[in-house]
């Protein structure tokens, strides 16, 4: 049995430890690790090495090489470093390598040494150079903290969404702090630094001095500090060889230990096994390693989720394996296979040696219409690699045409974007906004002529824009019609202006003239003539107002003549009727109504006798009865032609005579009409008469 425990060594009174090799590194290092900047990604991720030629003691020689290995030492990438001096390396949570240069520029590389992007930590950093830098991880992502040559700190808590925060000054700080670290409290990143015997906590607003509880006296300087991965715990190593371990909030001490070694350690880190309740700090010197542990307390470690695992596989381009895992775990397509295929496609578009056609085809073959795959995202990646044509080809596969639009706009394919925005069919809030956005792009991008020309080919966009202009940009609307040679609409536009926009009579007439010209050009002679008539009428109405007073402007022709008759201007009325060729029938209706309104029965009779009425005499009967003048009505009833005689007689209440005429006409309809008017006792005889006539007619 002792073979199981033989390699276990006691640690303190109650714990044991053992050392064994998990695996051996495959790498074949040419440089000493101590001469390199080294960064190992969390969760067994890759390791980056950069030989550091910028150390002061060694003169700069050849360009250094940046090497990336897997956790087991398999080479993943190797590239010549052509950029500036690097101060610090670190991996982001997304396994991107962040290389912090002395000038504050951070270069970002992928797992395979592919350059992604770069960003700067700001001007202050550029001016004072980077003295020291740390890459740290929080729940929001990975951050960068910089200590500048002016002993000021600048940090960004998330390099994915870069917001630079310059931390406040530490009072009296003349030289670099002896040690510092980032801590994360209440979801905000802080800096903890040691200056001589003092500790300071920097947040974005203030610098405050802090004291660890239960710290042994006699400390004149802190040599090393370490926070745990979860930011819960802090370890401090002092110049007295004393280690303080407690919570990072500095509210509680967990334990302390005096190791009696006063030399500054090279490294100090928290370590712990997953799910273990024991925590320990490992302190390393040149030739010595010490593990300091404490009493159990519960710590929860975040597990590597399956999504993160898949991400890692994808980053390592192990697509088939990732897909197999998805299928094995029966992950929903959108979260699993689709996502991995999309990643694969984004990788595929970067293969510059393959033609656009082949890449597009290969991607479409593999992806088809897998749900959850966004061709527009893949196309955006292609565009990002400078492959515009490929991007356009890929966009063709995007089934939702609305999704194609933003990228097309970015690629300055606005016209194509417009047709796609329209193709997306819906002019709803989002999509109508889409068409509108494209329109505004186009408006700014093209000159007016080309813009209008483009609109002309897109009726839906045109009508949308026209609607907008109608309310908001009337002049543009006019230009639109002009550009289109749409004289009909242009004419309508000026007609509307003649009563909506213009007030002075001259302006109105001028607007009408422009309208008439446009109508002629549109070969709409009817509208042109009508408009000219209106110009004449307006001028005339103006004159009438001047000469007669009263309101004439804006009356219709009919109402103008009526108004003249009502104010006794018969001569002028007739002149107007002649000038504007008012048809006889209308004139008779008009005069009849006006004279009856005036109750000028004498004039009405004169008028009725002026010539044979083109509308017959029944209207005279009707209008007199409407004014309750039976006496006058009867005069006209006798002149009504035979066809309407019965109606006229009934109107004036002469049922008996109406019956006679109907019987004489032998007209069944007329007889029923009269019968329906036979009410009351007085008409009894008449009714009988009709019934007899009917019976007689039937006998025949």
């Amino acid at each position: 049995m002792d073979c199981y425990t033989a390699n276990w060594n006691p640690l303190g009174d109650s714990a044991f430890y053992r050392k064994y090799e998990l695996y051996s590194m495959d790498w074949d290092l040419k440089e000493e690790l101590r001469d390199c900047l080294v960064a190992a990604a969390p969760y067994g991720g890759p390791i980056a090495l950069l030989r550091n030629p910028w150390r002061k003691e060694k003169p700069a020689s050849a360009r250094p090489v940046l090497e990336i290995y897997s956790a087991s030492g398999m080479p993943l990438a190797s590239l010549l470093w052509k950029s500036g001096p690097v101060v610090s390396l670190g991996w982001s949570a997304e396994e991107e390598l962040l290389c912090v240069q002395e000038d504050g520029v951070v270069l970002v590389y992928g797992l395979h040494g592919d350059f992604r992007r770069h960003f700067s930590m700001g001007n202050e950093v550029l001016q004072n150079r980077v003295l020291d830098a740390r890459i740290f991880h929080t729940e929001f992502g990975s951050g960068v903290a910089i200590l500048t040559g002016a002993h000021r700190f600048t940090l960004s808590a998330n390099v994915g969404d870069l917001k630079l925060r310059r931390m406040p000054e530490v009072p009296g700080l003349q030289s670099a702090p002896s040690c510092w670290t980032t801590v994360c409290q209440d979801r905000v990143a802080h800096i903890l630094l040691a200056v001589g015997p003092d500790l300071y906590l920097l947040d974005h607003a203030a610098c405050s001095a802090v004291t660890p509880p239960g710290l042994a006296p006699g400390v004149s300087s802190f040599l090393q500090m370490a926070v745990s991965f979860t930011y819960r715990h802090l370890a401090l190593f002092t110049d007295t060889g004393y280690i303080w371990m407690g919570t990072a909030s500095l509210k509680e001490k967990l334990c302390e230990f005096n190791c009696n070694i006063r030399a500054p350690p090279k490294q100090m880190v928290w370590c712990s096994r997953p799910r273990s309740k024991e925590r320990a700090v490992v302190v390393a010197w040149e030739r010595r390693l010490m593990v300091v542990g404490d009493a159990p307390e519960s710590i929860q470690y975040k597990q590597l989720t399956i999504q993160v695992l898949l991400d890692r596989l994808v980053l390592r381009r192990l697509y088939p394996l990732a897909i197999q895992i998805c299928e094995y775990l029966r992950l929903p397509e959108v979260q699993g296979v689709s996502r991995i295929l999309a990643h694969w496609a984004c990788y595929k578009v970067q293969q510059k040696d393959v033609s656009d056609e082949d890449v597009a085809r290969a991607i479409n073959q593999k992806l088809g219409d897998t749900p959850g795959v966004s061709y527009s995202d893949i196309a955006a990646r292609a565009y990002g690699c400078g492959r515009t044509e490929l991007a356009i080809k890929l966009l063709e596969y995007e089934p939702r045409s609305g999704e194609q639009v933003p990228l097309l706009l970015k690629m300055k394919r606005s016209k194509l974007a417009l047709s796609k925005a329209i193709e997306s069919g819906d002019t709803d809030l989002g999509e109508q906004g889409l068409v509108f956005t494209v329109l505004l792009h186009l408006k700014n991008e093209l000159n007016r002529g080309d813009f209008f020309m483009t609109l002309r080919n897109q009726p839906m966009a045109l009508s949308l824009y026209r609607q907008f202009c109608k309310h908001q940009e009337l002049e543009t609307l006019k230009d639109l019609y002009n550009q289109d040679d749409n004289h009909q609409e242009l004419g309508s536009f000026h007609i509307r202006a003649s009563y909506a926009a213009e007030e002075r009579i001259e302006g109105r007439v001028a607007a009408l003239q422009t309208a008439a010209d446009a109508f002629y050009k549109a070969k709409n002679e009817f509208a042109a003539k009508a408009t000219e008539d209106q110009m004449r009428l307006l001028r005339l109405q103006r004159r009438l107002e001047d000469e007669l007073g009263g309101q004439f402007l804006d009356l219709s022709l009919h109402d103008t003549v009526t108004t003249l008759i009502l104010s006794g201007q018969n001569k002028r009325a007739e002149q107007l009727a002649r000038d504007f060729r008012i048809p006889d029938k209308r004139l008779w209706w008009l005069k009849l109504t006006a004279l009856a309104d005036l109750e000028d029965w004498e004039e009405l009779e004169k008028f009725s006798k002026s010539k044979k009425s083109p509308i017959g005499y029944l209207p005279f009967v009707e209008i007199c009865m409407k004014q309750h003048n039976k006496y006058e009505a009867k005069k006209y009833a006798s002149r009504v032609g035979p066809e309407q005689k019965v109606k006229a007689l009934l109107l004036v209440g002469d049922v008996a005579q109406a019956a006679d005429v109907a019987i004489e006409h032998r007209n069944e309809t007329e007889m029923s009409l009269v019968l329906s008017h036979c009410t009351g006792a007085t008409d009894g005889a008449t009714a009988d008469k009709i019934q007899r006539a009917r019976a007689q007619a039937q006998k025949k």
Binding site: L429, Y499, L537, W589
Partner: protein, 615 residues
């Protein structure tokens, strides 16, 4: 009366849920602006809002004063202003001017704009251009379906008609698709879908896409409504242009029903006050006469009055106990019925008076002649006289349009002379009205080739329908034509009259137009439902210029109960008339129809939408 539904007629779904949803959402939006606020409401939204949330609900959520949105400076002294508006540019300018006036005066308040049923990008753009975008917060009240009655949902968007059919503006299509989507999430998927018209097709496609995007939400739900039928208003303008003669339609034509209620003036109430009356199935008297031809209504009402009197008369000879019973249980109901009865009798009298004055019989005769296509010259003269006498600008326009559509456009001479006469009577600005009507295809001139219409119609009598179809084809390449005459023949829209049409016992849907004409829209729906699709209707579809625009989409759904398969939702894009609703209610045949319309319309509303009026 009022064609009792067959005993097995399916139950209607409960649409009051839509009201509750709208109310809850509105309250949520009001709560987003905590504290006291003044509410500015657009006039068009007042009645719909009233059906959803009354003043006391608004007050409960800290609405202090209510104002109408009108072009006047605001007198409100509140620190918070909330605007409830339709997404119209003129509203944006009003709000912007208000905010800017406050700025000039150095005053800061909170402003919130609630767009109903949705906001449009153009509106936000105007706010931005006027420099107030940052000062106001925008929200949407997705209230797009108002249940006006147990079987009638209205979007209350009368501008849909002009925006789409005249201006070609498609933005409301999304609103519609969203509304349909809401219905399918609440009442399950529709196993059978039919439609005709460009707008119908676009809305349908967009709706389906919304369903796909929110994949699965309606899946597995039991369909409550078995069929949906979408129909564009421009497929059938004729029906909407006819004078209405069923009671509800006639009340709408005469008094204008607004958002399900009508204002009866003193001439109806026989008092000195006007009365706002809600017209729906809950009004027992109205419910029995709403679908009746007007000629029956009076008789029915007087019979009802006699019955009522008899019930009152029972009081005589009652002992105390019986009397107590009568007063506590029956009297209230009788009184209510009495009140309603006298209102509707008043309305009838008022309608009769108005109609005799206008010589309604003559008018109806002309309309029937136009529908049947005889005595065209006589009808044209009638219209001319109508114009010359300045009877009514809207009526004259309506008759001109009816003539144009039934005749495939006016002959050039009439087209010119009627327009000239119209301009002389009603003012030159109507030159623009005519331009609108032409664009919408409501009033057109026969193209030179079209003068052959008369010949063509003769030819079609002589040769087989197929050959006539070919001839028509040759012409239709010239212009989009209404082809009403040919459609009418194909679909038997003009019933053969043998003897008097008994309006008391209607034979077919033609009763809604005194037996003279079966509404085209309703006939199409009837035929498609009967055939379960468009098979055999190719020729009709072609004549309607909808060859690519008629669609059927049937999914086999085993979960659909036989009950639900007898419920049909008919969606009218651009408005439907009460006559059409009555006709389909009559059609029944074990089916029961539910109506969804962008707005209830009639001939006057259609014409007003096309008319250019001086501001």
């Amino acid at each position: 009366m009022a064609f009792p539904h067959r005993p097995d007629a399916p139950e209607l779904p409960d649409f009051s849920m839509l009201k509750r949803l709208a109310r809850d959402q509105l309250i949520y939006l009001l709560e987003q602006l905590p504290g006291k606020k003044d509410l500015f409401i657009e006039a068009d939204l007042m009645s719909p809002l009233d059906r959803i949330a009354n003043v006391s609900i608004l007050k409960q959520h800290e609405v202090d004063k209510l104002y109408k949105v009108e072009n006047k400076p605001a007198l409100s002294s509140s620190e918070q202003l909330c605007f409830l508006v339709r997404p119209r540019i003129k509203n944006m300018r009003y709000i912007a001017s208000l905010v800017n006036a406050d700025k000039m005066a150095g005053r800061t308040r909170k402003y919130k704009v609630i767009f109903s049923p949705q906001k449009f990008y153009a509106c936000e753009m105007v706010l931005e251009e006027e420099g107030v975008y940052g000062d106001v917060s925008c929200d949407e009240w997705a209230f797009s379906l108002l249940p006006l009655d147990v079987d009638l949902l209205s979007m209350e968007l009368p501008e849909f008609f002009r925006d789409y059919f005249l201006e070609g503006d498609q933005r409301w299509i999304n609103t519609l698709a969203q509304a349909l989507h809401l219905l399918s999430t609440l009442y399950g998927p529709f196993p059978n879908c039919y439609g005709i018209g460009r707008c119908a097709k676009m809305s349908y496609e967009l709706w389906k896409r919304l369903e796909e995007e929110e994949d699965g939400e309606t899946k597995g739900r039991r369909p409550e409504i078995g069929h949906i039928f979408l129909l564009d208003r421009d497929v059938d303008f004729v029906t909407a242009l006819c004078s209405q003669v069923v009671y509800e339609g006639l009340v709408d034509d005469t008094f204008r029903i607004k958002c399900g209620s009508v204002d009866f003036g003193p001439e109806v109430t026989s008092s000195d006050k006007s009365l706002k009356v809600l017209l729906n199935a809950e009004d027992k008297v109205f419910n029995e006469i709403r679908n009746e031809h007007f000629s029956n209504v009076f008789g029915f009402l007087s019979q009802k009055a006699r019955n009522l009197q008899a019930q009152y008369d029972r009081r005589r000879g009652m002992d105390i106990k019986q009397m107590k019973n009568f007063v506590s249980q029956e009297l209230k109901g009788l009184k209510q019925e009495h009140r309603l009865l006298s209102l509707h009798i008043g309305a009838c009298e008022s309608i009769m008076k108005k109609k005799t004055k206008q010589d309604f019989q003559e008018l109806i005769k002309t309309e029937h002649a136009l529908l049947e296509g005889f005595n065209i010259r006589e009808s044209t003269s009638y219209i001319e006289e109508h114009i010359d006498r300045q009877v009514s600008p809207i009526e004259s326009l309506r008759l001109m349009c009816l003539l144009s559509i039934t005749e495939n456009g006016l002959i050039p001479k009439d087209y010119r002379s009627l327009k000239t006469q119209y301009l002389q009577s009603y003012g030159p600005e109507h030159l623009l009205t005519f331009s609108n009507l032409r664009r919408a295809g409501l009033l057109t001139e026969q193209a030179p080739g079209d003068t052959l219409t008369a010949v063509e119609s003769k030819v079609s009598k002589l040769v087989t329908d197929k050959a006539a179809g070919k001839i028509t084809d040759a012409f239709s390449s010239l212009a989009k034509r209404s082809n009403f005459r040919a459609i009418s023949k194909k679909l038997n829209l003009i019933p053969r009259v043998d003897g008097e049409y008994d309006l008391k016992v209607p034979r077919d849907m033609a009763y809604v137009f005194s037996g003279a004409y079966v509404p085209l829209s309703c006939r199409i729906i009837e035929q498609v439902l009967e055939r379960r699709g468009w098979q055999g209707l190719d020729e009709v579809v072609r004549l309607l210029n909808c060859s690519e625009l008629a669609f059927t989409d049937m999914t086999k759904d085993d979960k659909a109960s036989s009950e639900s398969l007898r419920l049909i939702l008919v969606v009218f894009l651009g408005g439907c008339t009460f006559s059409e609703i009555s006709a389909l209610r009559f059609l029944g045949r074990g089916y029961r129809f539910i109506f969804l319309t962008t707005a209830v319309t009639n001939s006057a509303r259609l014409m007003e939408a096309m008319s250019e009026v001086k501001a």
